[in-house]
Symmetry: C3
Subunit: 208 residues, 3 copies
């Protein structure tokens, strides 16, 4: 039987999904084909590069062509899709779904890197969350928007809950791949529910 590396799976899925989401975001911002490609690649590679810098290893995005190539496939896919969409891309189910897939897959990938780097259980949750929300936040900053992680209560929250699920599954001795799969499923499920039912917390004050 072929043994599949759970990190490899989560990383490829996350790269593809975030490259699509980032490219769609760029189209909304009125960027041209080149800007769309750059924002897609930055969204795909941003979270993982931040994660690798934090745990003090050479970012995978610098070491090999692999991550960049997968991201470019995602960008190409997005450019084909963009022409068929109408209205604001960022309210479109295609964007919201690919963004949720990226968030879920990268939260799992970040948790796996945390285990490998030997950080504390707390550090694993933080690293998984940063890997999940990092790429999209950098992309939002680049196009001058307040990052979704600040505007939407149930963007970082699903990532945190999923990473806690990862820890519990590992602690219960689940076999290889199960903690990561559970993490991704929890993050994706919670995020899509939050988008569908528009969960949100009250404002602290009515503004000034």
């Amino acid at each position: 039987m072929v043994e599949v590396d759970p990190f490899w799976v989560m990383n490829v899925v996350g790269l593809l999904a975030f490259a699509v989401a980032g490219a769609l975001k760029a189209a909304d911002a009125g960027l041209d084909a080149f800007g769309v490609a750059v924002l897609g690649v930055v969204t795909a590679l941003g979270g993982g590069t931040t994660r690798d810098v934090l745990v003090d290893r050479l970012p995978a995005s610098l070491a090999t062509l692999d991550d960049m190539s997968v991201a470019l496939v995602g960008v190409a896919l997005a450019i084909v899709l963009i022409r068929r969409l109408k209205g604001r891309v960022r309210d479109h189910p295609l964007f919201l779904t690919s963004d949720a897939i990226g968030l879920a897959a990268f939260a799992a990938a970040g948790s796996l890197v945390g285990v490998q780097a030997g950080v504390s259980p707390f550090g694993i949750v933080i690293l998984g969350t940063i890997t999940g929300v990092g790429g999209g936040s950098i992309a939002d900053i680049l196009i001058g928007r307040v990052p979704v992680v600040l505007r939407d209560d149930f963007y970082a929250t699903p990532a945190v809950v999923g990473c806690l699920g990862f820890l519990v599954a590992r602690w219960l001795g689940a076999p290889s791949g199960v903690p990561a799969g559970l993490c991704a499923a929890v993050v994706f499920g919670l995020r899509m529910f939050a988008v569908r039912y528009e969960w949100r917390l009250p404002k602290v004050r009515a503004g000034s």
Copy 2:
């Protein structure tokens, strides 16, 4: 007699003060309770995490729960306070004072880390200044404002002067804790004076 670690003191004071300042800033930007908490935590942890990445060590914010817990106490405090404030929070003495305390404590904490990491005297000043201004700058970028360090002449300047005071005190052989305490006192004093008397430099040109 109990020996108190000067870094520990400066770190806890800075985390609390910047968590309060960051959370108040978020309320101004119209974010809800979750956004307020995230911005408070990012403001508190941002400067120290940047500092740790620069001197190539695992960020304290990833290694233990301690820093995050202190930051959350600060956020809770801020949420209680926010309801009592009127008008723009960022002109309120409570915001300006907590921001100055954070700047002062983190400039001292950053200088101490510089000594420990064995960087040059010049590097100590830069590291202390980056630790002081880092968290607030990241928070400003996230909510789409030009960072205070660019808009206000006497934000980075007090940090630089305080870190120079730190170096002089160390060079004169002051006992443990004195250089850090002097640094924090100088930064806080200069910053509060600058705010009170609205010190500023002339513009280079009258704009376009």
Copy 3:
């Protein structure tokens, strides 16, 4: 005969050119003398510091006073120049030329660091490009603009092509200094042509 270190040359040229470009950008944004100096220094040091963090070495900007001193000379030069310029600085040939020089010199400097750090050929191209576009992108984010690397198709592209030229020259066994010089010449030439003839790609869709 005196042996000149190609990295040293490219680094000094890049620091001076980007300090000028960054300071001019700050004047456009209506910042005062202090903000102009900070933005000039951040533009000059930002790309190299990011590069050093990525390849896991203590940033040169923290290790010695050298880089900061060169950047301050560039800022001083810019402040003298600013008073003589009229209209929007960012359309002025002086800004566009100094920005292109910085892009070219830093793409070469980043490629040389990549060789020294032992990263893959692909990593060398990425590192050279990030070093070239990094400082200006950070500066744009700080003053609240979408970074030029996203808006302008032929900003990152010349850097990528120049770094590929660097690799080819090295592979052909060109003597020390030639690959870096070729890289800088290609980047500068392509960038100036792109600015002069307003090369650009079509938008992916007509906006929303």
